[in-house]
Symmetry: C2
């Protein structure tokens, strides 16, 4: 058996810089990768197209699940609330309620069907901007729960939630992805990217990304709306 | 302020006997109830109509979220796999991968938006038929995780997952619901009910339900396809 087809992993893929790097890391570790993208009604629709392009570039399988989180409201990423252009204190309005919990749960369902014991998610505790569901203690508690939730938890296989970026700065993420050949021009991080995936350059996510390329000493391939 | 409007609860409602009883219990405890029904592509579509009828009968608010779990496959409840008519060993084919994990995660998102600290789910460890995500240790782990996942977990309010049926026999559930005035004729438990909500009478769920009414000494209002 080819080593690269031995172990399956489900990789949560948003189409942004971080999750593209995670997909490259999981692929490099020898996993056969099943990328899961969630169409949750995000205003930045080009993110979904970016997820397709990234998956193709790494020869992974992609599944996109529709789940309209706008039904619950409560976030600038899904509602008609302005995305802030200034740095904010505490939990930002771009927080989507229970988003990582929901996405990990969908990944868990797919992992169970695929008989995959490994799930990868690109959460980051350094640049996490105050999102509670990006903290290591959340991930640990999720893994505990997941092992009780599923057939795996009953039959004895241990399911592992991998967070290879959790302690990395944005610059270190970019350096690692660049070394693995990630084409960051395909990724979209901006909370209000236009239909062609061009970034606004002013939202939290754009500011963190641009500073990351600068700190990494890597040329920024991001296409901006004003460029 | 009217006591009944003081505290909000999100109640997972399938349209079956158990969750209808849970909605009655939460209402009786004085919660203002927000019922959440998930259209996950279940073959027994009349369950969704039952959820509407049950919610109306108890004057709760209902939200139905579409999430097509057929995309993952792996269950007789969503796939074209025969529902068994004999009692089965171990985890049955009617198990939907990570279903309760996913549904609790959606309830968590709504609870966070509503600023509700209470979620009710009708899991039952007695008649749970081998589903791993109906065990008390799963619920406890979920509650731990949920308190780390959300703004509530950061600001200090404790979120509680209520499982009022977890130790009850089906007969005791029916007795309690009957005392609270639940109209079980509105509920659909059958895994392969027809469009009018009439039950097959032979699947696991039908057998457990019928035995429950008999053991409770309560007249069974279930409408059967052969009747």
């Amino acid at each position: 058996m080819n080593r690269s087809t031995e172990k399956k992993a489900v990789v949560l893929l948003s189409g942004g810089l971080d999750s593209a790097t995670v997909l490259a890391i999981a692929t490099d570790l020898g996993y056969r990768c099943y990328a899961l993208s969630i169409d949750y009604g995000q205003r930045h629709r080009s993110e979904l197209k970016a997820a397709e392009n990234v998956t193709q570039s790494m020869s992974a399988e992609l599944k996109t699940i529709e789940l309209d989180l706008r039904a619950f409201g409560g976030s600038a990423l899904t509602d008609d609330i302005d995305v802030p252009e200034e740095e904010s204190e505490g939990i930002p309005v771009t927080y989507v309620p229970a988003r990582n919990t929901i996405m990990l749960s969908l990944a868990l369902a797919w992992a169970e069907v695929l008989k995959a014991d490994d799930i990868f998610i690109g959460v980051n505790a350094v640049d996490y901007s105050g999102y509670p569901d990006c903290r290591p203690e959340f991930i640990n508690a999720y893994e505990e729960m997941a092992n009780l939730a599923t057939k795996a938890g009953v039959t004895g296989n241990r399911l592992v939630i991998h967070t290879p970026l959790i302690d990395l700065s944005k610059a270190d993420i970019i350096k690692q992805g660049t070394a693995l050949g990630v084409d960051y021009a395909l990724t979209v991080s901006c909370y209000q990217a236009d239909d062609e995936g061009r970034a606004c350059g002013v939202c939290d996510s754009c500011r963190i990304r641009a500073a990351g390329f600068e700190a990494a000493g890597v040329g920024d391939p991001t296409r901006y709306q004003s460029a």
